[in-house]
């Protein structure tokens, strides 16, 4: 039977799921934003949290996805949900092209290059590159998504779309963490050189991390574009990358729960602080500093992986028992 914790988690999810019926559309929309940022932060988590790559340019991948959807939908009439995989794909390809030459850069150099990338993308968008992006005015008139004939329009509808996708993302990330790929990334994060020495092709894995993270961010861009119905370069600035970066670090690098809590705080707090009007961001900046000082590992850091050595040895002595090596906790 399910233990108490899983039961509580389940109950919590159900309660969360019926929230939109009780709270007003504004708070639902806040939760929608939290959801979107959670998905984005989880996609960044692969790159930053697991692989330990200093990436502050994630908004660029998000932008590629959102603009792909916007252009395909407004210029070619492709229904929004069909553009989603394409948006992800294009973002992934973009990441491949862009990350390939810089993948071997160290730490802070990679950081500034990723900042440069996101700025270049933003400038390209503002300058109406290829005449497609609408410049500073962006693209408008993006259609609403429809699933199985149901048109998703109001914040309540988007709530289920976004959080449904979020659940999917969490599931996927959880599987990724416990896979060979996830473990390789963590090894690379801890010690790049040793990992290479152990036979892991670090450049390859890092690149895959980028592409995967970008792919996911691209798809999220689709949802964003459909929800806002207009997109403009402002939404994809370096500042957005900073927000995502902060969510991952604050939440605890590599921890799914941490990212979730981080998103709630970073997105929710400025909304709660609205009463403070002009003081809103000042207090927020202070809150950021304090949060890092008091929980430097992040709010919910990933638990260290535990390998039950004794059980492993027992299994090795009794080869009949078929069990995988411990289990990451």
């Amino acid at each position: 039977m399910m233990d108490k914790r899983t039961l509580a988690l389940f109950a919590g999810c159900i309660l969360f799921g019926i929230l939109p019926m009780f709270i007003n559309p504004y708070w639902t929309d806040v939760l929608n934003n939290v959801g979107l940022y959670t998905i984005l932060a989880l996609s960044l988590n692969i790159i930053l949290g697991h692989a330990g790559l200093f990436h502050m340019g994630h908004a660029a991948f998000y932008a590629v996805g959102a603009y792909t959807t916007a252009i395909l939908n407004t210029q070619y009439g492709v229904p929004v949900m069909y553009t989603m995989p394409l948006a992800g794909l294009l973002a992934g390809i973009f990441a491949l092209i862009v990350a390939r030459p810089i993948i071997h850069l160290r730490g802070d150099y990679l950081l500034i290059v990723t900042i440069g990338i996101v700025e270049i993308v933003r400038i390209a968008l503002v300058n109406d590159i290829f005449g497609l992006t609408g410049g500073a005015n962006g693209i408008f008139g993006i259609a609403r998504p429809s699933m199985f004939g149901f048109k998703i329009k109001k914040p309540e509808h988007f709530f289920y779309l976004i959080w449904g996708f979020c659940l999917l993302t969490i599931f996927f990330m959880h599987r990724l963490e416990n896979s060979r790929f996830g473990r390789a990334l963590n090894y690379i994060k801890e010690d790049d050189v040793a990992a290479e020495g152990s036979g892991i092709d670090t450049a390859y894995y890092k690149l895959i991390a980028f592409v995967l993270g970008a792919f996911w961010a691209g798809m999220t861009g689709t949802i964003f574009a459909a929800k806002m119905t207009i997109i403009s370069p402002e939404s994809f600035s370096f500042w957005e990358s900073v927000v995502l970066f902060t969510i991952v670090i604050l939440g605890g690098m590599g921890s799914i729960r941490g990212v979730l809590v981080g998103a709630f705080l970073i997105i929710g707090l400025p909304e709660l602080f609205r009463e403070l009007a002009m003081w809103r961001m000042l207090v927020f900046g202070l809150a950021m500093i304090l949060m890092m000082i008091f929980r430097t590992q992040g709010l919910i850091p990933p638990p260290p992986r535990k390998y039950d050595v004794l059980a492993y040895l027992k299994d090795a002595i009794k080869p009949s028992a078929a069990s995988a090596e411990g289990g990451a906790r």
Binding site: Y26, V30, N127, G135, A136, G138, F140, M228, E275
Partner: protein, 372 residues
């Protein structure tokens, strides 16, 4: 300890959520503006102006026997935050919303207001397509790029300029105005067209490049900060080409930044600026503003917010109701030449401000703006 923290957090959240509850039975008017972020000075001015006007109305007994309450929400010049601000305002029971500044930001909120059937009067959004969507609750008290562009183009033509250099700052407003003006000029007369980066301060490189194309007029439909810097650095280069700006260059600080000597001869096209409004009510209002905040409003955009407030109050008064339906109808049909801060206001069928009100002004050797 953990429990205490949890309790405190919960208490904080609840109190903040509940503090949004305000007095019943007031007329609530929303202001959506960039109170923080890069354009905070515009947004804060907007709020200040509306606040002063609201106080005056309340001091005189309110409207239809009720007091006016202003609910201001920050959109930080960001589309996402704007959408959230709009959601918040539409669930706060406002009659109408004044704002915002920035066309893309206004557009992000537009759909939400339209769906919620709340009146929106944009005050700093000149992009043409905002009023081309047939939204009956959307209006604006600021001009539109094509109307302004036409005014600028005809003035440029009247100068007889043969080699025109156009610089903009890639913002929605500036580029929009530049494009509209350019479209109406003879293509063979345009020798330079590019964008500078606002927020930087060194424009010598750009000016050197423009100088290389040998123009006889420099048109800069951008903001007064950059215009001031351009004038100053242009003078340092000993370059005397005449310069023409758009309405956002109309600000007394322009002369402060450029220095009286560099600013002399600078011209701009636009609706009357804060300083040339002769209406006594306007002058009185400006005096009150100056007394409280020690400066004049930074630009014309925030004054358009004051206009928006005035017409909303007038509409509520005349229709005796706060139904958006009735107010929208009044705006379209009833409001004619209502005297307000920047001149007389009427709205056309699309919700745009009707009437021509662009004038050319020039800076004299004392640094004053003189209407031509």
């Amino acid at each position: 300890m953990k429990k205490l923290i949890h309790a405190l957090l919960l208490g904080l959240v609840l109190s903040l959520m509940l503090s949004g509850i305000s007095w019943a039975d007031t007329i609530k008017i929303g202001v959506q503006a960039p109170l923080t972020g890069k354009y905070a000075s515009e947004g804060q001015d907007m709020k200040n102006i509306v606040d002063i006007l609201a106080e005056k109305v309340n001091a005189a007994g309110g409207v239809n026997g009720k007091k006016v309450e202003i609910i201001a929400e920050d959109d930080a010049f960001d589309p996402k935050t704007a959408a959230l601000a709009a959601q918040r305002l539409t669930t706060s029971g406002v009659v109408a919303v004044i704002g915002t500044y920035g066309s893309a930001i206004t557009e992000a909120a537009q759909g939400i207001y339209d769906e919620a059937e709340v009146i929106q009067i944009a005050t700093g959004s000149t992009m043409v397509r905002l009023t081309e969507k047939g939204m009956k609750y959307f209006f604006r008290t600021c001009p539109r790029d094509d109307a302004q562009g036409a005014a600028a183009a005809s003035i440029i033509k009247s100068f007889g300029s043969k080699r025109i250099a156009i610089l903009h700052d890639n913002s929605s407003y500036s580029k929009g105005l530049a494009e509209e003006t350019k479209a109406l000029l003879d293509p063979s007369t345009i020798v330079f067209y590019d964008a500078l980066t606002p927020g930087e301060q060194d424009y010598t490189t750009i000016l050197t490049k423009v100088k290389g194309s040998n123009p006889d007029l420099l048109y800069f439909p951008g903001y007064y900060n950059e215009a001031g810097l351009l004038l100053r650095q242009k003078m340092e280069m000993k370059w005397n080409v005449p310069m023409l700006g758009g309405d956002a260059t109309n600000n007394a600080d322009l002369v402060k930044i450029a220095g009286v000597e560099a600013a002399k001869g600078f011209m701009f096209v636009g609706p009357p600026g804060v300083n040339d409004l002769d209406d006594p009510a306007t002058k009185e209002f400006l005096a009150t503003y100056k007394a409280r905040f020690n400066v004049m409003p930074a630009s014309i955009w925030s004054v358009f917010a004051g206009d928006a407030f005035n017409v909303i109050i007038e509409a509520v008064k005349q229709t005796g109701s706060t139904e958006p339906e009735k107010i929208a109808e009044y705006f379209h049909k009833g409001l004619k030449d209502y005297p307000s801060l920047t001149g007389t206001i009427s709205f056309d069928a699309k919700g745009d401000r009707a009437g021509k009100f662009y004038r050319l002004s020039k800076v004299n050797e004392k640094g004053e703006f003189i209407l031509q």
